[in-house]
């Protein structure tokens, strides 16, 4: 029992990391329908910005906030300088997947050429370990879980209650109708990219804090598990992303405790396959067909 409970505790931390990333990934995807495989590169980029600040003596949490804002800016620039022009040039849904994967390959290797093949770690004490029932979590873990809860609630509230959020939902259902109704499409799309980039930044730094060592490909490697979580939940749904993150996070960590820890990501994949066999559109998604890209 104790093993199980502490594994669930680790699962919550993994789920928190996954939730931050999956909500950001899926929010942008639902608005623009661009499958942004360079999301992981934004995570890594932000993670290294935070590393630079942290090495310079800044507190890691402050560095995280600044890096997240940088992530947002990078993400907006990526859309306005690269993806947007490609979409207006006539590149379709699948062409855009190739565009984003090319972007990921280029950015990851630019980072790698800059920092080298070695592993890095932040200068951040993980804090006193706190016992709660059989959970064993550090202050860092709890902060990251708190960030994840805040990010997902804020996103959900914004989507439900604010004008911008409603515009985003409108865009994700029918882009041309939204445009015809006077929704400033370009601005809303840019905002979606910014929000997604901020979450990539937060998720990237949080991931790097938790993994304690990181390299130029850590972000993109984590993106694969993030995608699994987002797809399980039903891509495009923020609620689904959180649920997917919880399922994947807890299943993988509990599996790691009882089975081979090296194989924990295989469990994520098993969950993905089972869910997709039963419900091909994911748990929460309504759409069973793909739509056109929005730039």
């Amino acid at each position: 029992m104790q093993v199980f409970v502490s594994a669930v505790g680790f699962g919550l931390v993994t789920a928190a990391l996954l939730a931050i990333c999956a909500v950001g990934f899926t929010l942008q995807f639902s608005v623009t329908n661009v499958l942004n495989l360079a999301f992981g590169s934004v995570m890594t980029g932000s993670g290294f910005i935070a590393y630079g600040l942290n090495i310079g003596g800044m507190n890691i949490w402050l560095a995280m906030v600044i890096a997240a804002l940088c992530g947002g800016v990078i993400s907006v620039l990526m859309n306005s300088l690269l993806y947007g022009p490609f979409i207006r040039h006539g590149t379709n849904l699948f062409g855009m997947v190739i565009v984003t994967i090319s972007t990921a390959v280029i950015s990851d290797h630019v980072i790698e050429a800059a920092v080298g093949p070695s592993f890095f770690s932040y200068n951040a004490p993980s804090g006193r370990a706190l016992h709660f029932l059989d959970f064993l979590l550090t202050r860092q873990d709890l902060t990251i879980i708190g960030i994840a809860v805040a990010v997902t609630f804020a996103t959900q509230l914004a989507l439900q209650r604010t004008r911008v959020g409603k515009s985003m939902r409108g865009l994700s259902v029918n882009a041309s109708l939204a445009r015809a109704c006077g929704i400033p499409t370009r601005r809303i799309v840019a905002l979606a990219w910014f929000a997604s980039g901020v979450m990539a930044g937060l998720g990237g730094v949080a991931l790097f804090i938790e993994t304690s060592t990181f390299s130029a490909t850590t972000g993109s490697d984590f993106l694969i598990v993030t995608i699994a979580a987002a797809v399980v939940g039903g891509i495009g749904s923020a609620r689904g992303a959180v649920l997917g993150a919880l399922v994947i996070g807890i299943v993988t960590e509990v599996g790691a405790a009882y089975w081979d820890p090296q194989l924990k990501d295989v469990l994520a994949f098993a969950v993905l396959i089972v869910v997709l066999l039963v419900r091909p559109q994911g748990l929460f998604s309504q759409l069973a067909t793909e739509r056109a890209v929005v730039g």
């Binding site: 495989l37 994967i101 797809v231 990501d265 066999l277 067909t289």
Partner: protein, 325 residues
């Protein structure tokens, strides 16, 4: 030719042949039919591993040096045939799970996950193919020919690769430009119209998935028989991207174009990087290789999405004459 030049030539030719064969496999899937197989590299890997264990002999004979499944000592063409079948069989399994009910953007994402999981499993389960260290000391397939130097044996293997590539090229032409090839292109262009005509797009997708997987397996076998080793580091998921670039640069759906693309991207860039004034740090060299590959993809998608040698568009004469008024 000096021995070194000969070795260099042989290496380049074998790599080009293997890359071209694999790129044709992906071209059938992505170029002609429009299936985004981001797990393509695992089918090359399964081919390489199969050919490896079928030539190495039983695992116990290595004296605990490496462990792997099965293990047989089959004569020359059999490991390569086995590898081709293994590539096709794995593709059938993966294809039947992923290609039937999923939205095509989900298919692409699931393939990425499949590719990563395959790497994790092969690395962690050392009993499969010797884990992260991989298989090594796979014997030269032509060593059975007595009385010939190693060099001559390599030349014979090279000739075999070239002949195989030409034969497969002929088959590719036969598939792509046949009536069935039109069905495949219709899946890419307008799946709903095709289904309205009573053809199954899913069936066509699974078909090219299996053929492409078999070609990937074959290419892996050629590589492993030549290199003599194969490990998970050589088939990480980004490697698939190189083949996508080859297809895009060469020309989606164009058999000759993709062959040129595969030679340029798979082998050309690597050779070109060696002569660039960027030092000799292996990390930087590899990174520059990847950056060039990614940038070329973007440049081609923007400026010449049809590729270097575009797919031939068949035009039909108007079959119905407009009645004179």
């Amino acid at each position: 030719m000096s021995a070194a030049t000969q070795y260099y030539t042989i290496t380049i030719v074998v790599y080009v042949c293997a890359n071209v064969i694999a790129a044709w496999g992906l071209d059938l899937q992505f170029g002609v039919t429009g299936v985004l197989n981001f797990a393509f590299i695992i089918f090359q890997a399964v081919g390489a591993y199969t050919a490896g264990v079928l030539s190495l002999g039983p695992s116990s004979s290595s004296g605990g040096f490496q462990t792997y499944l099965f293990g047989a000592n089959l004569p020359f063409p059999l490991p390569i045939i086995g590898a081709t079948l293994a590539g096709g069989a794995l593709a059938a399994v993966v294809g039947l799970i992923t290609l039937r009910r999923l939205r095509s953007d989900y298919q692409a994402m699931v393939m990425l996950v499949v590719s990563v999981v395959a790497t994790i499993v092969v690395t962690a389960e050392t009993g499969l193919f010797n884990g992260a260290a991989g298989l090594s000391l796979i014997p030269n397939p032509m060593q059975g020919i007595a009385g010939l130097s190693r060099q001559t044996q390599s030349w014979i293997f090279t000739a075999f690769c070239v002949a195989l590539m030409i034969a497969i090229g002929a088959v590719m032409y036969a598939i792509v430009y046949s009536p069935h090839g039109r069905v495949l292109r219709a899946v890419r262009e307008n799946e709903h119209a095709l289904e309205a005509l009573g053809r199954s797009a899913t069936r066509a997708r699974i078909e090219v998935f299996v053929i492409g997987g078999a070609l990937a397996g074959l290419s892996g076998a050629l590589l492993v028989e030549f290199i003599g080793a194969w490990a998970p580091n050589g088939w990480l998921y980004p490697e698939t991207f190189v083949f996508f670039t080859a297809v895009i640069v060469g020309g989606r759906g164009s058999v000759a174009g993709v062959a040129i693309g595969a030679a340029l991207i798979g082998v050309g860039i690597q050779q070109a990087v060696q002569y660039m004034p960027i030092g000799s740090d292996p990390t930087v060299l590899a990174a520059v290789e990847w950056i060039i590959t990614g940038a070329l993809t973007l440049v081609f998608l923007w400026a010449r999405p049809q590729g270097l040698l575009p797919e031939r568009r068949r035009r039909f004469a108007r079959s119905v004459d407009v009645a004179p008024r």
